[in-house]
């Protein structure tokens, strides 16, 4: 480690490229913690948004008109308003009417932390897109398959879980991939409500060490890496779920 550190100290002194995260333990731990927050925020939102998508797509096929309309309003509302304003609405507006609770030290803290609001906001945002994606996937399942399931005595819910969803999920993986990448990129907005994620950590470092350009590049590389990981993961899932001969 000593060699790496001295190399980056030399890089700063000789060329003015100040990558403090490689020789300053404090900056490094800040950035790593930020990266961890971004990753956990992304993972939680990813799972929740997919759950919302699956549930919403099922509700959209409901026989009750009111349920379908409610889902439609939800989708259109979250798709057509800025995610940043949604986040502020959740954090500042809805957060202001929730009661304060006491933490273990006896201090008053809000019921839902800024991290919690970020999770809620981004999950609903990405979930709205996921509902549409899953609906498209469900429409791609041949009608005959659904009828066969009905003939075998499956209820609507059981047919959805055991027959339609497994097939639809495979169809909508490419679109889902796109949306999940988008979700990871959207998590940077949590910076605005003070969640110490990657972007927030980087902004803290560059405002103290004054190495904006270097940190920007670190940030871009980090996001390319995280997005790459998501794309790779979805590709793996896609290969894992492939049914030979079923679909092109």
């Amino acid at each position: 480690m000593g060699e790496i550190e001295s190399f980056f100290v030399w890089l700063n002194e000789a060329h003015g490229i100040n990558l403090s995260i490689f020789y300053d333990a404090f900056d490094r731990s800040r950035l790593l913690r930020g990266a961890l927050t971004t990753i956990s925020l992304s993972c939680i939102c990813l799972v929740l948004s997919i759950a919302i998508g699956i549930a919403g797509a099922w509700l959209q096929g409901s026989r009750v008109r009111l349920v379908r309309n409610v889902v439609q309003v939800y989708i259109q509302f979250f798709r057509n308003t800025p995610p940043l304003v949604q986040l502020f609405f959740f954090y500042f507006a809805l957060g202001s009417i929730l009661p304060m609770v006491q933490d273990t030290h006896g201090a008053d803290v809000p019921l839902i932390s800024n991290f919690g609001w970020a999770v809620i906001s981004f999950s609903f945002f990405a979930g709205a897109f996921n509902v549409e994606i899953f609906r498209a996937g469900i429409e791609a399942v041949p009608r005959t398959t659904v009828e066969a399931a009905e003939a075998l005595g499956y209820s609507r819910l059981k047919a959805y879980i055991w027959i339609i969803l497994p097939l639809a999920f495979r169809v909508c993986l490419p679109a889902l991939n796109n949306n999940l990448v988008n979700l990871v990129k959207t998590t940077t907005l949590a910076y605005a409500i003070g969640v110490p994620e990657l972007f927030y950590a980087a902004a803290q470092i560059w405002s103290e060490v004054l190495n904006v350009q270097e940190m920007m590049n670190v940030l871009l590389v980090a996001f390319v890496a995280i997005v790459g990981a998501v794309v790779w993961l979805v590709a793996r899932v896609e290969r894992l779920l492939r049914i030979p001969g079923y679909h092109a």
Binding site: N69, T81, P82, V141, Y191, F223
Partner: protein, 283 residues
Amino acid sequence: MTTQTDLPVLLPFTLGSSATPRRKACLLRPATWCSILVVAALAGAATANASASAAIVSGVIPTMWKWAPLVLQGFAFNLLVSVLSMAIGTLAGLFLGLAQVSLYGPVRRTSWLATQFFRNAPWLVLLFYCMYLLPFEIEIFGLTILLPAWCKAVIGLSLPVMANVAEIVRGGIQSIPLTQWESAEALAFSRRQTIWMIILPQCLKRMAPPWMNLYAILTMATTLVSLVGVQESMTMTRAALVAEARTDLFIPMYMMLLALFALYCYPIARWTQRLERKFAVRD
């Protein structure tokens, strides 16, 4: 590519064909949409005031009315930024997209790399990139041009737009059958003529829906400029909330802002879907 036949057996089998009775995605009529938003805003105001006295309830609407011009002014600025970024991004993206189908390998690879880079970087990071790293004034031929913060923000937003437009253009060009290129070649069109006179005009129809979709996304992304210190509708809303210092205003004021964007972006989304459907039938 398909032979003329009316025998169902001979038709190509596609999953989710038109034979599937699909439930029509119930789109809301704009009027329904407006009334839902208004009701939601009022309901939000009402819930926020459920415990407060009636006097405060009556104060919410007039206060919102008082600040509405300021917020609308900010929203107009959002629209200005979105139109400018879209114009710059579309122009740059068109050429970046064309570079991706270039015959020269290095040009093709470089433009592919640039597209992927700007498409996969978060918008906020690119915006900060431009805000911090562009100079506040540039000198061209001894002429000093000031670059105010909002101009840098426009450039910062047009970068991801450029990359997305490039993908749309590339996709559009590649969706045109190869036979079109071949017949153009047979008619002795040069490559440039083929692209500008034969391929691109045919792409326009296919590129319109994703392009409009991108515009709606961009319009929503313009709120990001408030984070880099440019004043727009969200800055105005927050300023109004600070000035009033009333917690019961939070929900209705943010609802008003959300409604503004929804009222602007929803018709675009609807129109996009209509175009998509229309073109899908003809293809």
